[in-house]
Subunit: 233 residues, 2 copies
DNA sequence: GGGTGGATGTCGCGT
DNA sequence: ACGCGACGTCCACCC
């Protein structure tokens, strides 16, 4: 049995038991099996184990971890064939992640306290507030009546009426949109037209900073409209 | 000037200059400005700086970094008001990330070599192979003619013909699908019907493990079909 | 560089 | 738990 690996394992397990964040840097291979499955051969990577049950395997490249396990998983440290072996499992869906370290360059443990909340601005919610405060940005005479109004096709971002008494469905997007957003708006408009048994006209307006060419064509085909507007800030 | 902070900064900068992966654990606050903007007050977090220009700020919770910078950014270490300050920038879009450390518990540098490729199975591509090898899984008599066939509404996953000579559009999803996938399939079918000047019938089939209730209704409304099929493995 | 859609997407909210 | 849609989504691929 590799004595260093044994000590390393004890260090990792102590961190896990203490509810600390544990990082392991070393040469490892990784197996994942669950919703999909993957194999990753040997290489130098950073493993991050969080006290909430998250596991992240990061290579030298990319924002995304090459392998991971979401929060709520159980992490175990083992000695398998003399190697440090991290075994992480979850249920619903059943998923396992196994990281085998041929060598470990460093193990670190961190006691974490973090009470601060992240505050973000420039989101779709901010755009919604902007429209609700100044409905004329969408169109003169537009009057919002509800947000998240339910329809058979899902919840409409802003539901209201125009100056002529027509129903208006507003779909908000914080950034430039493609065909998917048009499809979304179309589903809501179609559902509302089906639901309005009287002859009320239902208009659909996509509110976003800009649209792609294809999205613009789709809007025209469906008789939907577009208003250019950005989130505040 | 804080001597420790100065040494810490030198260590971080040396790692960045050497093209190593650098981790910093400590108490910090974070400012981000770009496509959106955010502020995060003091707390204990792990900062990961990758040689490809990625920056990740991880709290004790969650799969997602609380703040980040994607690959390709320039990282600088600074001493600002005696604190270690990491300043990361990118262009198109213009974005900045600033991490200010009130205290640093540990800095680590790792020289990384990783030649292995991740191999994943159970993806949509695997499902496509399964259908192409056994087209009858979709329907007896189905004959695939093309993958990624272009239409005015985008590329169709699998295009083919059925036993009666009708055109068939197959949209593949590796997992249970909702209304968005139906909208996608509908866009392709509508586009192809518009493009087929002869009277060819165009059928749309959604191939996925399962569908939600709402998606099922939408399929019925649009006269589209569903075939239950999972990716192999 | 922009468009388009996949992803082990994750995350939060509502039912 | 599942459905649904947002996300600073990221990411690969094609144009």
């Amino acid at each position: 049995m590799d004595h260093d690996a044994s000590e390393t394992r004890n260090e990792v397990q102590a961190g896990l038991d203490a509810g600390e964040m544990v990082t392991v840097f070393g040469r490892c291979r990784v197996d994942y099996d669950g919703r999909a499955s993957s194999e990753l051969g040997p290489g130098d990577r950073l493993l991050v184990l969080k006290p909430d049950g998250t596991a992240l395997v990061h290579t030298d490249e990319g924002h995304q971890p090459v392998n991971w396990q979401p929060p709520g998983c159980d992490h175990e440290s083992r000695l398998t064939d003399g190697e440090l072996h991290i075994h992480s499992t979850r249920t619903t869906p059943e998923e396992t992640l196994d990281v085998y370290f041929a060598s470990v360059a460093a193990v670190n443990r961190y006691a974490v306290t973090d009470d601060s909340e992240l505050s973000v601005s420039g989101t779709e919610a901010d755009l919604r507030e902007r429209v609700l405060e100044s409905p004329s940005l969408v169109e003169s005479g537009f009057e919002p009546r509800a947000t998240e109004r339910g329809t058979a096709a899902g919840a409409v971002d802003i539901y209201g009426v125009d100056g002529d008494g027509n129903a208006v469905v507003v779909e908000l997007k914080r950034r430039r949109v493609g065909p998917d957003a048009v499809g979304q708006l179309d589903r809501y408009v179609t559902a509302l037209r089906r639901e309005s048994h009287d002859g009320t006209t239902v208009r659909g307006i996509l509110v976003a900073p800009s649209v792609t060419e294809r999205a613009s064509e789709l809007l025209a085909e469906q008789g939907l409209e577009f208003v250019a507007l950005e989130p505040p800030e």
